[in-house]
Amino acid sequence: MDPSRFTRLSDYAWQVEPFGAMRVPAVIFADEALLRAMDDKVFEQATNVAALPGIVKAAYAMPDAHWGYGFPIGGVAAFDAERGGIVSAGGVGFDISCGVRCLLTGLRRDEVEDRKADLADALFAAIPAGVGSTGAISLNPVEMDEMLAGGAHWALNRGYGEAADLARIEEGGRMAGADPSAVSAKAKTRQRDEMGTLGSGNHYLEVQEVCEVFDPAAAEAFGLRPGEVVVSIHCGSRGLGHQIGTEYLRDMAAAAARYGIRLPDRELACAPIDSEIGQRYLGAMRAGINCALANRQILGHFTRQVFGRLFPRARLDLLFDVSHNTCKVEEHDIDGARRRLHVHRKGATRAFGPGHPDLPEDLRAAGQPVLIGGSMGTESWVLAGTRASEAAAFGSACHGAGRSMSRHAATRQWAGRQIVDDLRERGILVRSPSFRGVAEEAPGAYKDVGAVVEAAHRAGLARKVARLRPLVCVKG
């Protein structure tokens, strides 16, 4: 994108002044190089979002923003129900509550290094990954509704994980206000055999080493010590979330005209928060969040079982579990007044700062852990929310590296087998059912996650705590 189209607020924040139907400005957080590399579609989509009814302050895009559908991926927008605000299925996306969970093993890298190949094979065997995979868990209709209402609490009651996990999950492990009856029979059928599966595409489980610490006090509070090993799991609400997104996108697109909402793009499908369909979507979407929380809780349990067999000393305490495709009701200070807003984060992570009442007590001084997935073979990051972040973009930060190249272009440039071999040379073991899948997820097809994180840090969205280097990657 051409920087001259923006008002430069700082070296890391760029504003589009309202024009046409825009009700508020659009603000993109990025350094100049990231901004120049962004697709013009991010500009178009962010300015379209800024035209939606009831939007508050601005439509934001994070440093990893790229072309999504309707909303940009890496988009954040908040709406006020009392001022005609809307809720949008496209503003949450198909993979509802896709997110990252990070577990602390307490093991040193050299301990893991000796058994790395065994660990990679055991994790690949224990974690169903890829297209067509099913879990060992099949839910009947009653269990399905209990899961959709209970989230990680339901999983814990079924014997997956530990009670201490719950405090380290957003919403304490259970999204309130879920309405399983707003989730269609088709969505539930799609999920019946998919609990405890990783999925495909950019979803993964990685064993990582803490290789650099930037904020020793926060790292200590988070339990991140240089040379120690953690496990990060990236996945979402599986087929259930995809089906909810599909159906409500269609229903909202059809209903928008009924509510007098003119859509610049069908993909911006939305409905007033206080409408019947808006409320039904929120109930279904929250059930989707619970599905994702339960799924990551189960995958965390499988991971603990594998480590328990290979490394009896390992503890695998949960550092945190974040979601990055959600719409949540939150209170924020807007021009000195406390307002209740529906904050959409699509490909953006909540990043509450120190002292926030929603954080567990032992993390309150440091701020919320913000888990940023990189690409295979590069690095991942742990950041912490800042107080400035709440004023900058409703307490939000980036969620990953963001693609810089299409899947098609990636497969033309790289062969999966070669990537697996090259990474093994560098000490990173990849296990995947599909070489083509590996090629599509080639590290070179992503932006430099370090640059994205640096921009988020400099923009005050979140602050750097630790950098993680992959040792093992199970790829869906």
Binding site: F94, V131, G132, S200, G201, R407, G437
Partner: protein
Amino acid sequence: MTGATWEHFPHEADVGLRGRGPTLAAAFEQVAVAMTAVVTDPAGVRTASAVALECEAEDPELLLIEWLNALVYEMATRRMLFGRYVVSIDAGRLNATAWGEPVDVARHQPAAEVKGATYTALRVVQDTGGWWTAECVVDV
């Protein structure tokens, strides 16, 4: 159908599907082959069993979304891949048969599952020569 073709067009994070054919139905058959190609090489899918589908919508663009999402649902719940499609469309109503087989991970090497069809770059048009193009981006 003679000359009917499919291709992918680039999208940063996801995949664009395009089908072309002498009739709307032929273009819809091709766009479905393009969706299979997101997951695996369509030529490597055995057309062993048939699944019947139907859907409807008020205009051809919405019908394309319904058609692709019906296939996404069948692929996901049956854990199948489809290699051949026969479509008929009459007054906004689509009837189809999809031939395929269960996913065989070793043989198909499935790259990524399709989460759903989006309204992004959604276009169904007939050119002056009478040929149809049907296209949209699917989320993977």
